[in-house]
């Protein structure tokens, strides 16, 4: 661990081991951001209700050869990583939040005090990442359609923007996001396709990356009832890896 680490969040529109079998680009990317040779990685599957099959898939991807993996189950606190939650999470290099139901995720986190603990982790430079619900949660606001009608949820607000995920993958996401922006009450933000990810350092977008060709991320703003969507230069990680080699 280096002395002063910057707060970092990598928010996936979708992708990584949860949704891209055999494509390790996004998962490799977040591991690299820790700048540690064998990072400590903790998986938080709360948004899925701590589904066993999801936890197993995490351990298959983040195997002990490349990192020190653990998980925290908030449904079975006696299971998984034991001892004090705060101490455990603060000792990580990377915290990886799985997908699922963002409303349940935030409810459970707040009930266990994880909102405050994760803020401390972020400020201490533990890299935070996740997909879908695990992306929306870091922003001030997110648009979810997981439960029935699309709605705006208040996230943890580490990033002072709004967020929409699965922007290309799920029908109506773009229209819903634009609709909420036009209706007022939703702040400007970032939308992200499946396979694309936004990498923030502090509050600022450092870069957008992708695990597949054509996956994009967008800055979305509203001025005078007009929504403007600016595609961000999104670097395909396979090409970056090839160039580095």
């Amino acid at each position: 661990m280096t002395a002063a680490r910057l707060p970092q969040i990598v928010a996936f529109g979708g992708g990584g081991f949860s949704r891209e079998k055999g494509n390790r680009l996004l998962d490799d990317y977040v591991l690299e951001q820790t700048a540690v040779s064998r990072p400590r990685v903790c998986f938080l599957p709360s948004a899925s209700g701590d589904a066993d099959h999801y936890i197993v898939r995490f351990y298959r991807t983040f195997d002990a050869a490349r990192c020190e993996p653990t998980h925290v189950s908030l449904f079975r606190r006696d299971d998984g990583a034991s001892g004090d939650l705060r101490t455990h999470l603060l000792s990580q290099d990377l915290i990886y939040v799985g997908g699922g139901n963002v409303i349940s995720l935030l409810g459970v986190w707040r009930a266990h005090g994880l909102d405050e603990i994760l803020r401390e982790c972020w400020q201490a430079g533990v890299v935070l990442c996740g997909l879908s619900a695990g992306s929306l949660c870091w922003f001030a606001q997110g648009v979810t359609a997981f439960v029935g009608e699309p709605r705006v949820v208040d996230g943890l607000g580490f990033l002072p923007w709004s967020n929409a995920v699965h922007y290309d993958g799920e029908r109506g996401r773009r229209e819903q996001y634009h609709g909420f922006l036009r209706a007022g009450g939703l702040r400007p933000g970032y939308a992200c396709d499946d396979g694309a990810a936004l990498h923030f350092v502090g509050h600022d977008l450092e870069r957008a990356v992708s695990s597949r060709r054509g996956a994009r991320a967008y800055r979305v703003e509203i001025a005078a009832d007009e929504v403007t969507e600016t595609p961000l230069r999104t670097r395909h990680l396979a090409r970056m890896a090839a160039m580095a080699a």
């Binding site: 948004a47 899925s48 209700g49 701590d50 589904a51 066993d52 908030l74 449904f75 079975r76 606190r77 006696d78 699922g100 139901n101 409303i103 349940s104 935030l106 409810g107 459970v108 707040r110 009930a111 266990h112 997981f146 439960v147 029935g148």
Partner: protein
């Protein structure tokens, strides 16, 4: 729906989750609806809606005379359901065990707390075990964070509830000390296999599926806690009335279908 009555049945543990070979408590729950084929909806929220928990509910109830369903808040994305309408159309809502803290947090986040209070007001029987029992009281003693600790429930029933009183003995001393000091209001300690039936907020019956299991009224006053044993009624293998011939036949059909 039984008009005018508001009933809650809370188990210290038991039913299909804990004693799958002994259906008497689950059949007792079905008998509370007061209709021949009650609609019963299982809420596995407290355990995170795992598939095996849902499958075990259906294994237990699909063969019974009822219309079973379950509502998974974690899987609504794949199976959209009009949550309020579905719950308000039930005769019985059966809440599974798990993390009481997570249960209440998720219910609050999805506004299920409000819907369930409305269900209770409309006479829908609210039942459950463990976290699914304590959630109806003001306070429960949960192991949601590892060690037993008090947690707030919905408060439909006044006082407190401590489950698995015999099965998980670490809860009892925390409960008794909490009631003694006034940190936890007085209430009921309930063994595995024992259920408390409330009519409104009044304890009406204490029933059990096993010999030797009890419930306790726990009361604190002037820094002293007292535990009064309540003797439960032992439920027989076929509670209530004998099923009519057509019902027996339908059960047989259910059974055949289940075996495929």
């Amino acid at each position: 729906m039984s008009q005018g009555s508001r009933r809650i049945f809370g188990l210290g543990g038991g039913g299909f989750t804990i004693e799958p070979e002994n259906p008497v408590l689950d059949r007792f729950i079905l008998s509370l609806a007061g209709r021949p084929i009650p609609r019963i909806c299982f809420l596995p929220t407290a355990s995170g809606d795992p598939d095996d928990h849902i499958a075990r509910f259906h294994a237990a109830f699909d063969g019974e005379l009822c219309e079973p369903s379950h509502l998974s808040l974690f899987r609504l994305g794949r199976r959209p359901v009009a949550v309020a309408e579905h719950l308000l159309s039930q005769d019985i809502i059966y809440v599974g065990g798990g993390s009481m803290v997570n249960l209440l947090a998720i219910w609050a986040a999805h506004e299920l707390d409000r819907i369930l209070v409305e269900c209770w007001r409309q006479g829908i029987v609210l039942a459950g075990l463990s976290a699914g029992s304590m959630c109806w009281f003001e306070v429960g003693v949960t192991t949601s964070a590892g060690k037993p600790a008090p947690a707030r429930g919905l408060g439909l029933l006044p006082g407190s509830n401590c489950v698995h009183y015999d099965g998980e003995p670490a809860r009892r001393p925390i409960y008794l000390e909490g009631v003694r000091t006034g940190r936890i209001p007085g209430g009921y300690g309930v063994d595995d296999g024992v259920g408390l039936l409330f009519e409104g907020t009044r304890l009406d019956r204490v029933v059990t599926s096993r010999a030797g299991a009890h419930a306790y009224r726990v009361h604190g006053r002037d820094g002293v806690v007292t535990e009064t044993q309540l003797q439960p009624e032992r439920l027989s293998a076929a509670p209530g009335h004998e099923a009519p011939a057509d019902v027996v036949e339908l059960r047989r059909v259910h059974e055949l279908r289940r075996r495929g």
